[in-house]
Subunit: 431 residues, 2 copies
């Protein structure tokens, strides 16, 4: 299917949303403010709730019994719980439906009235958070990032902690502040140390983190681990994720229990969930781990990462945009199946809608391929040059960070669209 | 009302559930497996869903418009969102209804048929998790515990980290593994170091943690902090909380991002939520903090803790029970309003159903008043003696830990009932 073309107009070759992708998201429109599932195809969104009310899905897809009811929900949680085989069958159905060579032209391609009804130009669409997030866990699998930050704070000798190559280090994040791309982010107020004195002030070291996010689609039983080779079946799909970080708040608070207010003020995810199957053709090997792994982390396949081309764009309040980083999502030491196997090893239950972050992804070069300003500016010691004669050590109010990522050739790209957030000044709090 | 007596039979003077308490919980019964709200009075549960279907609550309590619909929900989240004034009015209504001197005897006291219907002996009642937990955050406000553990791992000089007295240190816990009292807990399998070698095995250092839990009843806006003196209005009520801990798993994994699998396998809460108002008469001063606090943490009132008598009972598989610790919940450095003010300082939003843990509560003596085996046994170096010629360094399979807590005199006790969990052997995981 990857080279097939679509009959849907306004699908330029460089669109992230080719027929080879068909990600799912939750949309609203001015004419219908009810949040509902949709897929993206080129410059259009296909309203799946409306489509399922017009087509006889139980007859067309008898292998997915409650499909229509999951497509009328305000989140993708119910659809995700249908399981990987159902996601696959539904995506293949949509690929056929939207293909120029569709086997069922009468269903949509040749029905002008229905086309008009269910295809909405994406400029008229607002995105909502695609899933109700149960728990959000952020891992730390970007070894180049972990090493660079370790050198910065503990010196080259102790850059990586002794556990780093033995287990996917992670921590529990905050689910209530996960927001969809486009949501504004207030610079957090926090306790910070200024010349050794504790003050409460707006963060002066506001940063982004370039991550890949993974939505869990299936629950697991409490007390029972998920094996690493079956963990793929727990993956619903992927998003880009920006784990905004206030480095000065984090530095003062994080010992001994880890990051808290330095991270929990906002985490942005892209609105379209790229289904796990869409990324399968883009598997790649990750960072070599020279350590003998524990059995529960040993994967049957070597190509356990995806080679997604990632970029970070910084746009100033004046509107000048600069790509400040380019790298690949294969720069990870641990795969999502390894994270899931580790997360559940002790019996911690997964739920559909749980969100896993990869940790900050930086490339191996250490220049032009880093996933945070912390690394690019050596914790604010030097500047990153921007277009428009501007420069940054950390983010300014009015700055917008946009993460993008895609695989595949023009005409068959599998991409994420934007993961975007603009920084607003610290909110006034009467205290 | 605190000295009034109830007409409900089987309410012994030493009951945690006097008329001065009236906590809320979610019950099921064999005859009706629908989870629904109830209050506890002595040895009985009063089915509030049934009661609200029999009484004309809109007329009796016109100040709480949607009360009846919140009482037909399977969790207390909707009721909690009614706000403190509504909780107060409803509790006072119940106190009058159940009092010997009730002003409305015809409503329930003198209606034998209705009494028979809505009052269920608690031996016939199963408890469910009282709230759907959004996020679970565990603080570390038990200074005696933090100090003892700090001495153990970093020496007396560096026992408390530099930030400890400036802010309520906390970390994000796992919401999916919060369970109600009575739920069995599997000993977790995890990565541990044995003689310097990494192995994957059942934890050998299984521990409990004695904590007070606080359920948030009100949401807050993202980007906007909650002031410390208004934070009381965000509190729905309190539970006892056992933050089960696998010390060997935790020791290996926790650097640099904090506890993960060592904690996320289970957290047990007591089933009856003691409403914030019921604890008001038992305010006390906490641990003196000699540090000049940041403005957002300065409370108007000095008595910002509760003096709840706490105890920990260990029952062996053979059925021998020993009280291994007794202390008070006033042994905290930070109050829940301070935790809420800190948690939201950077704009992290609260949601009704969020759960906050106090951190392990240990007394100042360091003997007989400690909130974990880690402290009692100096990390397994010595034994705690039990009834039945037995002893423990850490928990064995088959052991049951029961936390209890109450305030007030006999006849007007405000208590929590049991917060109980039994350890089962590590679940077999096919890998």
């Amino acid at each position: 299917m990857a080279t097939a073309t679509t009959w849907v107009p306004s699908t330029p070759p460089n669109s992230d949303f080719s027929l080879a992708n068909l990600p799912l998201g939750i949309i609203t429109t001015r004419s219908d403010p009810t949040p509902r599932p949709a897929t993206a195809i080129g410059m259009h969104a296909l309203d799946l709730k409306l489509l399922s009310s017009r087509l006889d899905l139980p007859s067309l897809l008898p292998s997915i019994p409650s499909l229509s009811s999951t497509l009328s929900q305000p989140t993708l949680n119910a659809f995700a719980q249908l399981g990987r085989p159902a996601h696959r069958a539904f995506r293949e159905f949509l690929q056929d439906l939207l293909s120029t060579e569709t086997t069922r032209p009468e269903l949509l391609r040749d029905d002008a009235a229905l086309r008009e009804e269910v295809l909405v130009h994406r400029t008229k669409v607002m995105m909502e958070l695609p899933m109700e997030v149960g728990d959000y866990t952020d891992f730390y699998a970007g070894e180049h990032h972990a090493r660079a930050v370790g050198v910065m704070f503990r010196g080259a000798e102790n850059a990586l902690q002794p556990n780093y190559k033995h287990l996917p280090v992670g921590y529990h994040g905050r689910a209530s502040s996960v927001v969809v791309s486009g949501t504004g982010v207030h610079r957090p107020v926090g306790q910070i140390l200024v010349d050794g004195v504790v003050v409460t002030a707006a963060s002066r070291k506001m940063d982004f983190e370039l991550e890949l996010g993974c939505f869990v689609g299936r629950g697991s039983e409490m007390g029972k681990g998920v094996g690493v080779d079956e963990a793929e079946e727990w993956v619903f799909g992927y998003v880009l994720l920006n784990d905004w970080s206030a480095r000065d708040v984090q530095a003062w608070e994080y010992v001994p229990l880890g990051p808290f207010n330095g991270k929990n003020f906002a985490t942005t995810v892209s609105g379209w969930v790229v289904l796990a199957d869409a990324l399968e053709p883009y598997r790649a090997e990750g960072i070599e781990n020279g350590t003998e792994l524990q059995g529960y982390l040993k994967e049957g396949r070597r190509e356990n990462m995806f080679d997604i081309s990632l970029e970070v764009e910084l746009t100033t309040a004046e509107g000048d945009s600069t790509i400040i980083s380019r790298t690949s999502s294969k720069n990870l030491l641990w795969s999502f199946p390894q994270m899931i196997a580790h997360h559940t090893l002790g019996g911690c239950p997964m739920r559909a809608g749980d969100l896993l972050g990869s940790g900050t992804i930086s490339g191996p070069r250490g220049a032009g391929d880093q996933g945070s300003l912390l690394e690019m500016t050596d914790n604010g010691k030097k500047e990153v040059l921007l277009a428009g004669m501007d420069a940054r050590r950390f983010l300014k109010d009015g700055d917008t960070i946009t993460l993008r990522g895609h695989c595949g050739p023009d005409g068959a790209r599998v991409g994420f669209g934007d993961c975007r957030g603009r920084i607003y000044s610290a909110a006034g709090v009467s205290r």
